[in-house]
């Protein structure tokens, strides 16, 4: 449950940029990583001697402080959002496939940087004893917050202009939309949400490693967004719920189910394989995802398209 709220935050973060702009980004997990490490830098390690030992490259001020978790989350949001804004302002001069590949090289570059920057990130070794603040209540609260932010952005003129640029770039330019600007704003906002997601992950597991923020998470979160349908905010949330249910089910099958006396169990690793196959099938038979670009509606309350 708590894990699912983290995923909601991450996938909604992706949606803010990918869903509204239509540009596939492989690089947003970088901001998750930045968020998680920002959380460690600010809030980690209640034992005073631990941080200087782990991370001798940090500025002295940071080495000696360990602020409470909310400050860490705020720092994660600020640092991830800030760096996403700067990086986005550069990358958003590209469009289409070139932009997607550039975000991929962002992910690989950030991974290589954090892996080797031993003094500041601990390199390949994992940082343990990160304060654990997550429970399902806090997780749900943050997830609702993320959905709310995404919804506000979706409703704002920036969201509208961004979707206009997604559907018809040239016409929207001709109508006075500054495509670069609205994309950069969405990139920054979505990086910020991813950063919070990273801090949540750190504060859930109590342990941070560079490898936790690479291709696997990228794949899982993208899969959730696309399977749910990247065309709508409901799609993002539905995708998380659907794929979490599928993986949970496959995990059960992997452990084995009892049929009479026989224990039926799928081979290990089938969870991932099954997830990939589900995703391929959704793409073949329902290319726009489960929600197909529509929003869930409750009575008269509905999102503007």
């Amino acid at each position: 449950m708590t894990e699912m709220t983290i995923r909601v935050v991450l996938v909604v973060g992706l949606y803010v940029f990918i869903g509204n702009s239509g540009i596939l980004s492989f690089g947003h997990v970088s901001f998750m990583s930045i968020g998680a490490y920002a959380f460690v830098w600010i809030s980690c390690c209640t034992l005073p001697a631990l941080k200087p030992l782990y991370l001798p490259g940090l500025p002295i001020v940071l080495q000696e402080t360990a602020l409470p978790s909310p400050a860490g989350i705020a720092a994660a949001a600020a640092l991830a959002g800030g760096s996403a804004l700067v990086i986005g302002s550069i990358l958003m001069r590209l469009s289409g496939t070139a932009a997607s590949i550039a975000t991929f090289s962002l992910l690989a570059g950030q991974y290589a940087l954090f892996r080797n920057w031993t003094g500041v990130t601990g390199g390949t070794s994992s940082l343990a004893n990160v304060p654990v603040f997550m429970n399902s209540a806090i997780g749900t609260l943050l997830a609702i917050g993320a959905v709310l932010i995404a919804w506000l952005h979706h409703q704002s003129r920036y969201g509208l202009m961004l979707r206009a640029a997604r559907d018809e770039q040239t016409a929207s330019k001709a109508s006075g939309v500054n495509v670069w600007l609205v994309r950069t704003i969405a990139f920054g906002l979505s990086g910020l949400i991813m950063g919070v997601g990273g801090a949540m992950q750190a504060g859930f597991l109590g342990i941070v490693t560079v490898d936790a923020f690479y291709l696997d998470v990228t794949f899982l979160t993208l899969a959730m967004l696309i399977v749910g349908g990247s065309g709508s905010l409901s799609g993002a949330v539905v995708g998380v719920i659907a794929l979490t249910a599928v993986t949970e089910m496959l995990r059960r099958f992997e452990v084995g189910i009892h049929l009479g006396d026989a224990l039926l169990a799928l081979p290990r690793g089938f969870q991932e394989v099954g997830l990939g196959i589900v995703m391929i099938l959704v793409m073949i038979f329902r290319p726009a995802g489960i929600m197909n670009g529509r929003e869930l509606t409750v009575g008269h309350f509905r999102l503007k398209r």
């Binding site: 990358l91 496939t97 090289s105 940087l113 899969a223 089938f270 196959i277």
Partner: protein
Amino acid sequence: MIHFLQTLIDALSLGSLYALAALGIGLLFGIMRLINFAHGDFVALSAYALILPSTDVVSTLFIGSLSWPLLIAAILTFGVVVALLSNFAVFRRMRTASPQNLMVVSFALGYVIQNLIMTVYGARPKALGLWSSLTQVIDVGGLRVPLLQLVTIGVTAGLLLGLLLFMRKTPFGIQMRAAADDFRMARFLGVRADFVIALSFAISGLLAGVVSLLFVVQTGVLAPTMASDIVIFAFIATVVGGMGSLPGAVLGGLLVGAASSLLQAYLPDGIRAFRDVFVFLFVIALLLVRPSGIIRLKQFEERV
């Protein structure tokens, strides 16, 4: 001078490997706008075909125990079959899909293959000594060059020449170039779409087989994610060279390989670990100057 020449050969051989991988990716992009994230997993799967399926730490040779001409033929065939199978099982059903969906599907397919490898062979890396005589170092006028580097460069040059002739001189190659140029027009003129796409998958799989052999001999290690580094660089190479252009893919591969070898050789010790970071920065910078890569093709420019 000697040091420089040695670095140059390093650069060429690394660049060749990237160029071969980039070519396998660029070919499919040119014809069906598919950015094939599963290419690295084709490479890994071909490499794993060398050994018997088991999760043991020690690897037992399977195809790897054949004599070398048979071995090469078997692995290349295996690569071709893997690529063709994924075409028939997945990509054939997505003919009308958007490039984004294709990209996502290939990502998913790669994930499936990688996890299948982990399930069947185990997740831990395995040592595999294949053709260790190739790794010996020979002395050419004061230069000490691993034989394998020369083989890599030679094989690449040969393959490029062969592919060039195939694309220029044979009817199949000409059909492929026509399809890459304007797929719809080519179909009107009688080019069979299924055939051309299957053919490009086959060639792409063949190239994956070649890369897997060269890479396994070089590193002597099998791992489920063994090819992900090469493929990340190969992607970048196709973009740098110009999406969809085959000479561009080769050029991009050589350039990226040269950039990382030269940085490896000439960066100061303290920051050498950050070599890849510099390579990726260089790529982003280059994309900003020339968003459509070095060789710009007119059919990929957005038209209104």
